[in-house]
Amino acid sequence: MRRVHQLTGLACLLLAGFLGYNTLALPYYTRLGPGPGFFPRWLCAILAALALVILARASWSKDEPLPSNFFPERRGGLRIAIVIAALIAVANTMSILGFQLAMLAFYLLVLAALGRWRWIETPVLAVLGSFGCYYAFSMWLNQPLPTGRLGF
């Protein structure tokens, strides 16, 4: 676990530095008391200090072996990557494709990636999850979902 903790410490240190730099423009103290920069600056300092302690402890203490299931199986890693990519793709394409088409593609992709492809069952589920969900939210729950440039 040593390398994992070292990377955690390093990531926290970089984050603290980046955020701390961004707080410099905020007033630290005002006539009435602490300003908008007071809390964030202290928090960045504390995060940086904690990161240094993590780095130091990870570098000097006894190394623990990684748990046997630390790394995902190859296919598992692929599944995770596809699901993350599908979520990000949905977030970026929904304004163009609209909820129905974007979610249809999302369900087809995710179901296939998770190893559940049946020629009738999968498309039916995808249509229910996309077109069905759109109508349920729009008609019954009065919660409008986005429509894209193609009218879906």
């Binding site: 990377l7 707080t23 905020l26 908008p36 809390f39 402890r57 999850g129 939210f137």
Partner: protein, 499 residues
């Protein structure tokens, strides 16, 4: 007496048909989420939170609370039927519950668990009724310095929520506080960490973070391994417990109620501790301790009662003082805040109808769970056979809709995905997630009360130490932090010596 009158008014609200319907929906949905292995009450409550958005405040909170204790019961079903705890607190039930299921006694095991959960839940709710008025009267004496110190008590719980490392829990807590700073500063109106993005000016919604780190993160973790079908070797001979089962379960239910209730009052204890303590107590008090683990009904009745008594009692600090004692309760607190309500003493003063309506609904929800769950057991068993890929796909789709419908912007869906990755990486690096959620919710309240305090004292920090209640709370926070640190150190040392 005053409490009982107010509770009667609460029942009038909770028994309105729409509220009853949402309590029922919450119980069913909660149980449904609870039985999905890998999706515990925290993730389940976070995932189902969007389902309550369109509802009025009372109905929304009633439904979410029902989801909460429904999910707690759902975890029991999988522990007994498939030897897979739906959540950590139900793990101990596997020991005897699954053995009973293998002997064809799944029905009595689940029935006793449901009865025990009902008793534990009702007693804890009565505790909330009795403590609500005196505690809120005390809390109404609080000014900004006392509130800041109270928030410090809440933050000191972070250590109690730490897993193996206090250091990593503190990192998680600081990150939660930093995320809570994103957006327009509440006092001076200056944008912080928004990086010019309009979507970040209003801050990052607690629900987006909770759905990401707990919901999506949990699913990503589940995707690592092959998704085998859930084996089901439970057999049903009879659904109801016999006279001997009832006799043997009575005292474990009483003891489980006491253990769960008192541990629920201490924020940060976690649901696992009362169940384990109850199991250990039953084993020690039993005349045949060697039979524990072979299908003893006492090993199911005690822990399950303690679990639900804890779950309901954990709501007492939230309702009376505004302190969320566990991650799931923190999500419920987030739901309150999204409805424009701040849990704590002012809730009883300013929105008494909502507060007492929700409390009354706890009794009704617990009764619903008891009545519903026994006849629905065959349905839950069938649901356990739904292939995981379909379940996970539907949950992810639900997350997308939920995140979008928060503010009607796809940016939140992207943020949820990002926090899903954060949750996954945190679990890999053994960084506890609960402190992040707790501080994310408490951060803005804490900052606001400190800044108000310093405005009152013209920048003098001693205001926090010169007011007796504030000082008392700061001392309490220090004691909590110290005791939790010592407990973790002992636990880690114990684990090391076992190795």
């Amino acid at each position: 007496m005053e409490s009982l009158t107010l509770l009667a008014g609460g029942f009038a609200i909770a028994l309105e048909p729409t509220n009853l319907l949402f309590a029922l929906a919450g119980c069913v949905l909660g149980t449904l989420v609870g039985i999905l292995p890998g999706i515990g009450p925290v993730a389940g409550t976070a995932l189902l939170l969007p389902a309550t958005f369109a509802l009025p405040p009372t109905a929304g909170i009633i439904m979410l609370s029902a989801i909460y204790y429904g999910a707690m019961y759902g975890g029991t079903l999988t522990s007994v039927l498939v030897n897979v705890p739906g959540e950590a607190a139900s793990a101990i039930t596997c020991l005897d519950g699954y053995e009973m299921a293998k002997q064809g006694r799944a029905g009595p095991a689940l029935a006793v668990a449901a009865i025990g959960s009902f008793v534990g839940g009702i007693v804890a709710t009565m505790g909330l009724v009795l403590l609500a008025v005196p505690l809120t009267k005390l809390a109404l004496l609080f000014g900004p310095p006392e509130f800041f110190s109270l928030m410090l008590v809440g933050l000191s719980l972070v250590i109690g929520l730490a897993g193996k490392s206090v250091l990593l829990a503190l990192v998680s807590a600081v990150l939660g506080l930093l995320i809570s700073m994103i957006g327009i500063d509440p006092v001076a109106g200056a944008p912080r960490f928004a990086f010019g993005r309009l979507e970040l000016m209003a801050g990052i919604n607690v629900v987006v973070v909770a759905m990401g780190v707990f919901g999506v993160g949990e699913i990503l973790l589940n995707l690592e391994r092959e998704m085998a079908a859930t084996p089901l070797s439970a057999r049903f001979r009879d659904l109801f417990p016999g006279r001997d089962d009832v006799r043997r379960s009575t005292m474990p239910i009483v003891r489980g109620t006491v253990i769960g209730f008192f541990l629920g009052l201490i924020p940060g204890v976690g649901a696992v501790v009362p169940t384990v303590m109850s199991y250990v107590a039953e084993k020690r008090l039993s005349k045949t301790p060697e039979k524990f683990g072979t299908g003893m009904i006492e090993g199911v009745a005690g822990p399950e009662t303690a679990n639900n008594a804890y779950a309901n009692a954990a709501l007492i600090p939230l309702f009376t003082l505004g302190i969320p004692g566990s991650p799931t309760v923190a999500i419920i607190m987030g739901a309150f805040m999204m409805k424009g309500l701040i849990p704590g003493p002012f809730l009883f003063r300013d929105h008494a109808d909502i507060a007492w309506g929700v409390i009354a609904s706890f009794c009704i929800g617990n009764l619903m769970l008891l009545i519903l769950n026994l006849p629905l057991i065959p349905l839950w068993v069938r649901l356990l056979r739904i292939p995981r890929p379909i379940l996970f796909s539907l949950i992810l789709g639900f997350c997308v809709v939920g995140a979008y419908s928060l503010n009607g912007q796809m940016f939140d869906v992207g943020m949820m995905a990002v926090f899903g990755i954060v949750g996954y990486l945190f679990k890999k690096a053994e960084i506890p997630l609960a402190p992040l959620l707790l501080t994310l919710i408490l951060g803005p309240l804490m900052e606001q009360s400190l800044r108000q305090s310093l405005e009152i004292s013209r920048g003098d920090f001693t205001i926090l130490f010169t007011r007796p209640i504030s000082l008392g709370l700061i001392v309490t926070a220090c004691v909590f932090a110290l005791v939790s640190t010592m407990a973790i150190a002992r636990r880690v040392r114990g684990a090391d010596s076992e190795v």
